[in-house]
Amino acid sequence: MQPLRSHESYLAFLGHRLSGLALAVFLPFHFLALGLALEGAETLDSFLVFAELPLVKVAEWGLVTLLTLHLCFGIRVLALEFTRWPLRSDPRLRWIFPGTLAAVAAGVAFYAQVV
């Protein structure tokens, strides 16, 4: 990463946008699963068997983590744009680490539930 981008605010920007892209990739599969439910239990069950594969579980874990990250960093962006800043030079930097921590916690909770 170029030196001019190596700061927390830029990393939060990257985290928010890349997690958003990952969610955009996930959503069609999510809607596909919902659509299969309308076609009958057998079709949905065959999809759910696929969803139990270890690799898919890992992908789900990543998804839960990224979803939480996207939520937390998105709330930070809303706070940046709709509320006055507490300090002029501080674009809510203190929200970044707790947001990352929340994403990790969500990932751990999901892992604990699956295992």
Partner: protein, 241 residues
């Protein structure tokens, strides 16, 4: 004084225009040496044809900004000892601006965007009128004053990735200027300035990366000014009296 354990600095300087290359110079490491001092030493003693720009040398005029070790900086107020890793400096012209030669860029697009953002102050009184009373402690004046000290160095413009991606984006400095005018009771075109700042390529193109605020050499926060413009565009211009 030594930098990186040596009595000499190794200075890599971009020579030429877009298709140029780096040339390496060695200059003595001195106490309290600024990056601009180093460039001047190279130009006066080793490379008379080196093109660069400076004027005041004390951080007022905003002329001497360059890319130093990958970051845009005002070189007259940047001490070598604070940034020279292993006694090496790498100097390039500012990013996001057309290059003229060596370290000098053309700032025309930067100032054209100031105009496009409605950055020209429009007075509403003549010299016969008494000075307009402005409460220095009013909310709007405090907000304007906090953003007013921009020296037009284009460091924020160079640091901004959105400027690099979108040629129409007005950039942090122009939008910061617009924000000061939107909060200025003496400006006669506040609504027009707000409309321009909210139009295509304006404040809504900002991705809140914060590179501008991170690199502003005088400690301004263009990110906050742009956020203020977004709020004003949605909820109405701030009251100024």
């Amino acid at each position: 004084m030594t930098t990186g354990g040596s009595d000499e600095l190794t200075v890599r300087i971009w020579r030429g225009r877009d298709d140029g290359c780096f040339q390496t110079y060695r200059v003595p490491a001195r106490a309290n040496q600024t990056v601009l001092d180093v460039v001047t030493e190279v130009q006066r003693h080793q490379e008379p044809a080196l093109a660069y720009r400076f004027a005041c040398r004390v951080g007022v005029c905003g002329s001497c900004a360059m890319t130093v070790n990958g970051r845009p900086r005002w070189t007259c107020r940047t001490h070598v000892r604070s940034i020279a890793q292993e006694g090496t400096l790498t100097l390039e012209p500012l990013r996001n601006l057309p290059r003229i030669k060596d370290l000098a860029c053309d700032l025309t697009p930067f100032f054209e965007k100031w105009q496009k953002a409605g950055g020209r102050h429009l007075g509403t009184a003549s010299r016969e009128d008494p000075p307009q009373a402005v409460d220095p402690q009013s909310r709007a004046r405090l907000v304007a004053s906090a953003a007013i000290e921009c020296i037009n160095c284009a460091v924020c413009y160079s640091a901004c990735d959105v400027v690099a991606w979108d040629a129409d984006y007005l950039g942090p400095a122009a939008l910061n200027r617009a924000w000061t005018l939107v909060n200025d009771a003496r400006h006669g075109a506040r609504d027009d300035t707000l409309d321009r700042a909210f139009s295509s390529g304006g404040c809504t193109s900002c991705h809140s990366q914060g590179n501008c605020t991170r690199h502003c050499p005088v400690g301004l926060s263009p990110s906050e000014s742009i956020a203020g413009l977004k709020r004003a565009a949605l909820f109405g211009a701030p009251k100024v009296s």
